[in-house]
Symmetry: C2
Subunit: 417 residues, 2 copies
Amino acid sequence: MGGGPVRVDFLQLKRVSEAQRLFLEACPQGPLGVETVPLHEAAGRVAALGVKAPHDLPAFHRSTVDGYAVRAADTFGASEGLPVYLRIVEDIPMGRAPTKPLGPGECAVIATGGMLPENADAVVMVEHTELLAEGEVGVLHPAAPWTNVMRRGEDCAAGAELVAAGTGLRPQELGMLAHAGVTEVPVARRPTVAIVGTGDELVPAHQEPGPGQIRESNSYTLYALVAAAGGEPVILGTAADDEQAIREKIEEGLRHDVLLLSGGSSIGMRDLTARLFAELGPPGIIVHGVSLKPAKPTILAAAHDTPAVGLPGNPVSAQVSFFLFVQPLLRQLLGLSPFPEYTSAIRARMAKNYGSAIGRVDVLRVALYRRDGELWAEPVQDKSGLISTLTRADGMVIVEENRECIRAGDWVDVLPV
Amino acid sequence: MGGGPVRVDFLQLKRVSEAQRLFLEACPQGPLGVETVPLHEAAGRVAALGVKAPHDLPAFHRSTVDGYAVRAADTFGASEGLPVYLRIVEDIPMGRAPTKPLGPGECAVIATGGMLPENADAVVMVEHTELLAEGEVGVLHPAAPWTNVMRRGEDCAAGAELVAAGTGLRPQELGMLAHAGVTEVPVARRPTVAIVGTGDELVPAHQEPGPGQIRESNSYTLYALVAAAGGEPVILGTAADDEQAIREKIEEGLRHDVLLLSGGSSIGMRDLTARLFAELGPPGIIVHGVSLKPAKPTILAAAHDTPAVGLPGNPVSAQVSFFLFVQPLLRQLLGLSPFPEYTSAIRARMAKNYGSAIGRVDVLRVALYRRDGELWAEPVQDKSGLISTLTRADGMVIVEENRECIRAGDWVDVLPV
């Protein structure tokens, strides 16, 4: 933990958007490194470098239908009443090159995916032809040039980018890369995320708690959230509410790319966490307290280039804080923009009135149910610290800063959680 | 491949909903087996059995605030003008049991998460008190019973289900299970899904294609789609368009829980695949041809209890067919209902008119962009077989059977792909 200026703003509440901006500006822009993975393991990763097509895709003109490869100009004027007659010079086998170019008045039998012969620039569907004498076909409709043809390079031209740096790789990007013969993909290294739970009352999940003790559970939730967001979670276990014990965990955690410290719902513990985070730096504490319900006492900090987040110990607050601050951070560290351009949501109608405060973001847990063919969102009765408010919820509704209330019946976007 | 009746309906187009129903009814209901995984690896899996709470959660009354544990009745009538004075008998340390029950007129200092002493049934927030002489506190507001208390068993009562069988495990379910000390979870075995590509023109992705050849790419896309849908993909490689070669791959594939055979865009190949699928059974071919654009020539079949799907070779069609038939199948084999109760989508306005046909489902690929603060969905120009129509798309719009057109400006639900 370096020296330098230490900045502590104890519970100077920041707006969510400002807290996000200040925090993300202080954090590194990814990717943090490049690693190469086999293509079939690349789904869900982020391309760290652009990948270019080594040659035209496809490498030859391909037919998109079963029919006859033709010189388009030969078919002009064809009609059902006056077909154009072409001589079949070849039956092009799949996966093989045609053996001869097409001369005027000639055509070749071709199947979907077959390679067009030289001089051919269109394919007439078999349904638009009539087979006449042996070796001759009547074309019933004219074909414009390049009808029913996937042209050489149409999927991707040689040297063009198959995927750009910073692209999230979906199943179809894998298909495109396979098509180009790219079987090893340079992807962003996953940020390692150290997870620490703090609290005198905590025992590990596999232990029997004594009177007044509970099992540490946030680490498991955070483990899964980090993995789903593209990070590599590392559980460092729990620390008692003891300055030295927590300081040691913080030091251990800062060897990773990100440190998440959860716990400290009591005022004393929050102060202790803040005091220890204030020792980090520069920049140290960036935000302490957000105008947000729940998760107000979130602490956003960094030790040099290593982001450190103090998540509230309350499981509901911890999850809200994760979505608003840690998920954008992980996207940034992967080389994505911190906020996606659009998010998918479930549209539902609010079942009850909900009042918020101007300037504060409220994040509501809701359960969804159908009534009269419509989907309704019922706020889950929320008691501080109950994990069941999360397991009973189907999603979250974000009540933006400039919104004072949602009325029963209003349509809302429910983000699945 | 068993004997029994063989049923072949060559391209008797079925409606999508009927095809789904017939196919899923013929396929097993999951889970196919139960396996136990460590809790931190359970996210994204499906609980195969219900898991019950071994004891009340929490196991004791916990405070949700920093303040004073009280007997609620003692505080009735308290006001800022006339506080109720209580004697502090203990400072309850976190993670430890209180040492004595509360007598009338007594209270105990307690932190968030602390264990209430016997006889205490509420906690007064520190903000609602004033500290007086040593050992005495003035309560300024009355506290109703159970104010600021998470009651024993309130998160989950002993013996109640923490998660029900068939629950998809999210990060918060992991937290709940950890809370209860369940560190090993019985989950549905992932269905193994054999993936075969067929076609004379195909070479493996790591090979240099010759003239007229292309690299097999659908397997990579399907691998990622299967994994994302909760299955365990197994790539069996490619078979040439040869009856014996494909028959061998089918036999190998049927040793897995599901067989996906992709390829055969030409009429001849489609017929060959159908002929070989017709040998399966019972029930053999269930659906051959769906009133769907693209992916009309999808074949849905089963050999006894093993579902087999003939996916079109065209990558766009294969992906559409996967979403409509294979994804629901995998959900069913995992013990989930085949179709989720609701799906999340991106709301956008169609940028262009689109005409469909009554009775047919159309699946449109669209790219999203912002204009004047609204999100618009632009259909991606679609040429049969171009993978780039998938990589350029941000999502799909499903045009239902009873819909004839979408007009420019209409709001649509875009499903992310």
